[in-house]
Every structure is written in structure tokens, then in C-alpha cells.
Symmetry: C2
Subunit: 232 residues, 2 copies
DNA sequence: GTTTAAGATTACTAACTGCTAATAAAATAT
DNA sequence: ATATTTTATTAGCAGTTAGTAATCTTAAAC
């Protein structure tokens, strides 16, 4: 088990500790995942910590005007918090692009490293990195990279699970970026940009038989099909 | 004023906190700078902290077998500590090369950023980075990059201050990497690889008049001349 | 050789984060 | 509507790092 904690005590406004940044990012992601209001336990689960610790931090982030927090009622990010979250996500995704495109990592290896790199403080570094990478708009998992000002293309179209029989789609992203999931996709031969076509839907367990690039067919579970985004 | 502190509580052996790593690096550098034994106050000065805090940390590092520590008598690194220090310095210098060669930073801008990046934990990342950079042997300030196993070319030849009148040398490194010093060199037109020739030595304040690349002449103070390394 | 100054250490306190246990509020079940 | 369960919060403690003040050790001065 690894626990990281970067503490940035800093006079500059708008610079938060390693831990604070991880909370901000987590709250953002849970919101984006559909939660109107993010509750304490879900944050604790993602961050592998206890609800009590989360409550403490929420109080702190609320005082810093990063979140709207009503006791027992969950939290949402303030606009300041959203901008902050998007800046962190921007850094994370740019570093992932760097790792894959420049250092030849595969998409299942980059998450943990980018998790560390996203906390490096230097706006100029990110500007230069962005330029060096050719201003990418997506990370290696198909997720959009927020702009410097915090704009981001939302609205991820359809899940593979929603494809009808004989319908095709191109893999444009994944909902889960855990190495175990991505390695499973590697083994199945599914990658970003691959064309998949549903050959059969198994009623019993909702699993799908899909062909990849009009080539070999594989069976994917409902769980897997719900974590793959396809173009319309 | 900035104070960073990355805390890595980790079950893996040989992984230390952000703060611990900074202490290890500082002790190494003070030793390399000629100190037989490193004393508490000098560490405190470099790390911009207080002697009392240093004493605490020394006790801790001693228990972890990173340093030899005798109270009131100063510290030296154990062989484990030296290896650890060289790994950190390796990372620091590789990232500096990346910043200068790939992201177009100048040599006076990279120190603070590399100071953060050197703490990223991923041996594979550093291996890939090294490869990506073409296995550089020196950083942008002319300092040697330790190998993966902790070997390093020591023995920096001569200081510009030691050049005789009419003697030439090529700038192969700098002893100080503070932005203020490097920016001063930029302004003087002195860079790594430049040939300099001593035209005159001012007895009064030991300053030197040197020509750069057989071109323009500039006056450099004794302080500056003692922070420039030249080839034999 | 005693006194003084410099350097280093300890004791205590504080900020940050995380834990457990106890408690409180909200949601659910009956 | 009350009881029960789930969820969240507070209180108190611990580990890490840093700061202040007081104390102790060593080195230097006379």
C-alpha cells in the first residue's frame, strides 16, 4: 500500500497541498461521474482513507472556498474548485500523453506515474510540455485534455454496451483507467481507435461478442462493455 | 518563500519522504563540496530551516541507516545513503537535460522545476527518460550524471580563477546553479563550451578580464571566476 | 584552566494528515 | 411514527516535519 502526501506550504495563492489536490480531483471526478452531490464515503473509498479523515478535509477545503459543503449533505465544487480540478486533470493528461508518445509507455502503465507528475508546480512547464506534445486534445485513454483556462469537451457519447446487434463503433475512450482493466483490453486486442462490431448479445449475462477491425471475434463481459466508449 | 514536503509513507524498502530525500541530497552535496563531516548548521542553512529541525531529522536518518551520526560531531552518509543520494541527483540532472534539450528551457530556469521532479518515484520512468534523452553524461551545467548503479565521474578540474594570464580554457561547468548566477553569466555571454582567455588579472580585487570565443572582453569578479570550471 | 562564544541538542508546541471510537443526523423499514 | 440502519461528524490521539526557547557540548579566548 502506498500513501503519498505532498505538502506545499506556500504563500502563493491558489497552491494547494498534494493531499488537497487529490481531494479536489476526486470530488471533480465523482461529480463528473454523475453524482449531483458527492458524499463523504465515496470520497473515502476512492482515496483509500476513512470517512473521518474526509470530513476533516472537507471542512478545510470549505474554508478555502474550494467546495460548497453542508454538513451531512455532501459537497460540490465551487467555480474556483472546478478550475483547480481541471488544471490538475490537464496536467495529469498531458503527462500521460508524454509518457505514451515520447517515452513509449503503454496506456495501462501511465496512470500511477502521472498521478505523481500532476502535482508539479510550474505553469511554464505545462505550457512548454503542451507545445512539445503538439497541443494534444486527448489523453491515451481518449479523455479530453482541458485547456489552460479550464475548458473541456464533455459529453462522452455511447457505451459499447449500448450498441445494437450488427452495429459498429470506433473505440474513442475508456471509462476506467485501472491497469487491470486496460491490460485486459490489451489481451482482447481492443485499443483506442479500433472498430468494433457487435456480433451477438448474450441475454443471460449481457455479455457481447464483438469483432475487432472486422477481424477476430472476442467475448466481452457486460462490465467491460460498460467501460468502453464508442463513437456515434 | 516556498517550502515543499512530500511524504511517502511506503512499505517498499528504500523509499524516503520528500523531506528525507532533500536532506540526503544536501548532505551529499556538502560532503562533495569538501566537508569531511557535515555539520548541523550548514544543513539548516541550505535547507532554509532551523538547526533544531535538522537535529531531529539526523536522528531519524541515522536510525534508518542512511547516515553515520555522532552527536555534536556531524554526519557522513553511509554507503546506502550515498547510493540514495546519487539516485536522486541522477534524476535531478536527467530532468534538467529534458527541460533544456526538449522543452527549450535555459540553464537558469531548470533548477527549481527539477527539484520537484527528482522526487517522482518510478525506476522505469527514469530508465525510459534516459533512453529518450540519448543517455546524456552531463547536465546543462556541466555536472556529471550518475549512472543507474550510482557511479559518477568526480574530479572537476580547474576553476577559471586559477587560469594564468593569456591562458585559455573551455567552460565545462559551473559550481553554482542559482538562477541569479546563471543569468549573470548569460548577460556576460558566458556559456557551457565557450572558450575563455584571461587577458588581465586585477591585483586589487582578483577580478579577471577575459575574452570570450576570441571575441568580446568582459570583466568578471573573483566570486564569479571561482564558480566557473574550465577544462585543463 | 576558567570563561566565553559558537554550535548542537532537547523539550515543548504547532500545523497537516490520518486513524479509532463515540456520537449525531438522515434515510429506511416496519 | 418509531425503530433501525446507514452515513457523517466530532473528539482525541498519533506520526511527520518545523519552529522557539532553554540547555548542553565543544571550541576558542584570555
Amino acid at each position: 500500500m502506498i500513501a503519498h502526501q505532498l505538502l506545499l506550504t506556500d504563500n502563493r495563492r491558489n497552491v494547494h497541498s498534494y493531499t488537497e489536490e487529490n481531494y479536489i480531483k476526486t470530488i471533480y471526478k465523482l461529480s463528473a461521474d454523475g453524482a449531483e452531490v458527492v458524499n463523504t464515503n465515496s470520497i473515502a473509498e476512492v482515496l483509500q482513507t476513512k470517512a473521518a479523515s474526509v470530513s476533516d478535509m472537507l471542512k478545510k477545503l470549505s474554508n478555502k472556498n474550494i467546495i460548497h459543503y453542508v454538513k451531512y449533505r455532501g459537497v460540490t465544487l465551487t467555480s474556483e474548485g472546478q478550475i483547480k480540478a481541471l488544471q490538475i486533470i490537464r496536467k495529469h493528461r498531458l503527462w500521460e500523453v508524454f509518457l505514451v508518445n515520447k517515452l513509449n509507455f503503454s496506456w495501462d502503465e501511465v496512470h500511477d506515474i502521472a498521478e505523481q507528475m500532476e502535482h508539479i508546480q510550474s505553469p511554464l512547464l505545462i505550457k512548454r510540455l503542451d507545445e512539445f506534445l503538439g497541443y494534444p486534445t486527448q489523453d491515451p485513454h481518449g479523455d479530453p485534455i482541458p485547456t489552460e483556462t479550464g475548458e473541456i469537451k464533455h459529453g462522452r457519447q455511447r457505451l459499447a454496451a449500448e450498441l445494437e446487434i450488427n452495429e459498429s463503433g470506433v473505440v474513442v475512450g475508456v471509462r476506467d483507467t485501472k491497469p487491470s482493466f486496460l491490460q485486459h483490453l490489451n489481451k482482447l486486442g481492443i485499443f483506442l481507435g479500433a472498430q468494433i462490431k457487435v456480433k451477438e448479445k448474450v441475454e443471460y449475462d449481457k455479455s457481447l461478442e464483438v469483432s475487432i477491425e472486422d477481424n477476430k471475434s472476442v467475448l466481452i463481459s457486460a462490465e467491460v462493455s460498460k467501460n468502453i466508449y464508442v463513437s456515434a
